[in-house]
Amino acid sequence: MELFDNLWLGLSTAMTPVNLLYALMGVFLGTAIGVLPGLGPAATIAMLLPATFAMPPVTALIMLAGIFYGAQYGGSTTAILVNLPGETSSVVTAIDGYQMARQGKAGRALAVAALASFFAGTVCTLLIALFAPPLAEVALKFGPAEYFSLMVLGLIASIVLANGSILHALGMIILGLLLGLIGTDVNSGAQRYTFGLPELADGIGFVTVAMGMFGIGEIIANLEHESTRDVSIKEVKGLWPTRDDFKRSIGPTLRGTALGSVLGILPGGGASLAAFGAYALEKKVSPNRHEFGKGAIEGVAAPESANNAGAQMSFIPMLTLGIPANPVMALMIGAMIIQGVQPGPSVMNEQPALFWGLIVSMWLGNLMLLVLNLPLIGMWVKMITIPYRYLFPAILVFCAIGVFSLNNATFDVYFMALFGVIGYVFKKLDCEPAPLLLGFILGPMMEEFLRRALLLSKGDPMVLVTRPISATMLALAGILLCLVLLPAFSKTREEAFQEE
C-alpha cells in the first residue's frame, strides 16, 4: 500500500543516526526553552536557523520541528509544577495541573500529560500521512489566482482564530507584506525601498525580523514586568498514573485529539486555541466536571492532547500548500527557502524523503519526549529556578551572534536592534508581531501570484472571483471577517481565550 511505502521511506530517512541525533537535540532544546520563562519557540528557531544552513534540508527541518513540539511539552511541565505556563498553549493545563501538583500528584499529572500528548502525536502522524497527499494533489492544480486567494484566506483565518484586535492584526499583516517587498523586485529588477544600501538588495532577512520582534522585543517586554518569582517546587514522585487516572483520561484524550486535529489544520488555529477549546468541551461533557479547577485529571489530559494535535496538524498547510499557520511555520518555510526547497504542494513529489522523513521524525520525536523527559524531570525542575537576570543577557548574546552569522556582517545586528524596538513599541499598543511575520513571509509570494493571475486574465481582477476555487476561498475569507465583526461572535471569541 502506498501509505506504508511512504511511511517506510519516512522511517528510513528519520532513522539515520544523524537525523535521530538532531531530532533528539531538537526535542531536548525545545523542552529546555519551553521550561525557561521568556523564551519561546519562534525566537529559538530564529536563533538556531543560521546554524542549520550547513545541514541537509531534511536534517535542519527535523531539528527545527523538534524544537517546536518539544517546547509544547516543556511548557506543560512548568504549567503543572509551578503554575507558570511556558507557552500560551499550556495556559489551561496550569489550571488543573497545578492543583494536582499541590495535592502531591504532580508526577501523575506529568505522566498523563506526556501520554496524552504522545497519543495525539501518534494519531496526527497517521492523519498527516493520510490527508496530506490528497490535499497536495488538489493544490497542484491551483493556478496563481487560487494561490493568491488561498493566501488571503490563510492570513484572514490566522487572525480570526488568534487572540487580539482584528484591526491591528490586519494592520500588522499589511505592514508585514510591505516590509517583505523591500529589496529587488524579481520581475523588473527595480530596487524598492533599499535607499541605495547594497545590504538591502536581497531584502531584510526574515530571521532578522523574527529575532528582533520575538527575541529582543520579548526581552524588553519581560524586563518591564520583572518580578521576583517565588518558585517553590515540591518533590516529584509517583510518576505512574493509577488505573483510575487512565480510565478517566481516555475519553478526554480522544476528544482532545479530535478537536486539536480539526483546529490545527486551520491557519492560525494551532495549539493554543485547541487547548482552550478542549478544556471548555470537557467542562461541559465530563461526568467529573465539578472537580474541574480543583485538580481533575481530565483537565490535564484534554488540553495536552489537543495542543499537541494542534501543533502537529499545523504542519499540514505548511507542507502541502506552503502556507504558514503560525510564526513557527513561517520560520520553517523560511528555512526551506534558504535550503533551496520551494515550499508548496510539489515538495511531496519532488522531495518525498524530506516530506515523509519530517513526518515520521515527529512521531519519533514524540516518543523520545515520552521516554526521556519523565526521568529527566529533576533537571527541568532545576532549570525553572534559573533567574531571568542570568538568562536574558545570554539570549541577547546568542541572538547577536546568530544574526551576525547570517551574512557575517554587523549590518543585520543593527537591523535586529531596530526590529526589537519596533516589536516592543507595537506590542505596547496591543499589535502582535505574529501577523506581521506571516505577512512578511507571504508578501513577495502574494505579489508574484497576483501578478501572474492578472497577466493571465489580461488585467481583469474578476479572475479572482470567476474561478470557482478562488471564489470559494475569498468568500470564506469574507465570511470569516464578517463573522468576527459581529458582536455576538466576537464575544464568544474573547471568551474562548479567557477560559479560567
Binding site: I219, E226, Y390, T410, L454, D460
Partner: protein, 172 residues
C-alpha cells in the same frame, strides 16, 4: 479613567482609546513613508504590474487601517497605554549597538562583555558579584569555542585594532 483632550479642527475631542490612537498614527506614518518613497515606482497596468503596483496599493490600505484606528479611538473606549519602559528599551538597544560597533575593531573579547554588562543594567535584579564574573567568562569562552572555532563563524576574537599585536590565530 485618564483621558486626554485634543483640539482638532476647532473642536474639542477626547481620545478614548489611547492604544488605538497611537497605533493608528504609527500606521499612517509608516504608510506615508512607503507611499512617499515609492512614489516614483512604476504602477504599470493591472495586466503587467509594475514594481509600484503592489506596494503602493498596500500602502493605501495601511493608510486606511490607520485612519480607521484613529477614528475608532475617538468613538470607543479602550485601554490606556500605561508606562512605557523607555529606559530599558534604550539600554537593551544600546547594548546591541555596542556589540555591533565594537566587534570589527575590538573583537569578541570586548564586544561580548560590553553586550552582557550593558544589558544587565536593564534589570533591577542584576548583582555584580563573582558569580556574574564567572558566568561572563564562561559565556565568552563558550562563544569563542563553539561559534568561532567550532562552527567557523568569521567573528574576530581580537579585532582589527590588534593586527600585528596578537598572533593571527588569536584573531580568528
Amino acid at each position: 479613567m485618564r483621558q486626554k483632550h485634543y483640539i482638532l479642527g476647532g473642536a474639542l475631542v477626547k481620545i478614548r482609546a489611547e492604544k488605538d490612537f497611537a497605533a493608528g498614527v504609527l500606521y499612517i506614518i509608516l504608510a506615508a513613508g512607503f507611499l512617499w518613497f515609492g512614489r516614483d515606482y512604476k504602477m504599470g497596468a493591472a495586466s503587467r504590474m509594475g514594481p509600484g503596483y503592489f506596494p503602493l496599493t498596500l500602502g493605501w490600505i495601511l493608510f486606511g487601517f490607520g485612519a480607521i484606528s484613529v477614528v475608532r479611538s475617538f468613538l470607543t473606549d479602550g485601554p490606556v497605554i500605561g508606562g512605557v519602559a523607555w529606559k530599558k528599551l534604550a539600554i537593551i538597544t544600546a547594548a546591541i549597538l555596542a556589540f555591533a560597533i565594537l566587534l570589527p575593531k575590538f573583537g569578541l573579547i570586548f564586544a561580548l562583555p560590553a553586550l552582557v554588562l550593558l544589558s544587565s543594567l536593564a534589570s533591577e535584579q542584576s548583582e555584580y558579584d563573582l558569580k556574574l564574573l564567572l558566568a561572563l567568562v564562561g559565556l565568552v569562552a563558550f562563544c569563542i569555542i563553539v561559534f568561532v572555532k567550532g562552527l567557523g563563524v568569521p567573528m574576530p576574537i581580537f579585532g582589527s585594532l590588534f593586527d600585528g599585536i596578537v598572533p593571527p590565530s588569536w584573531q580568528r
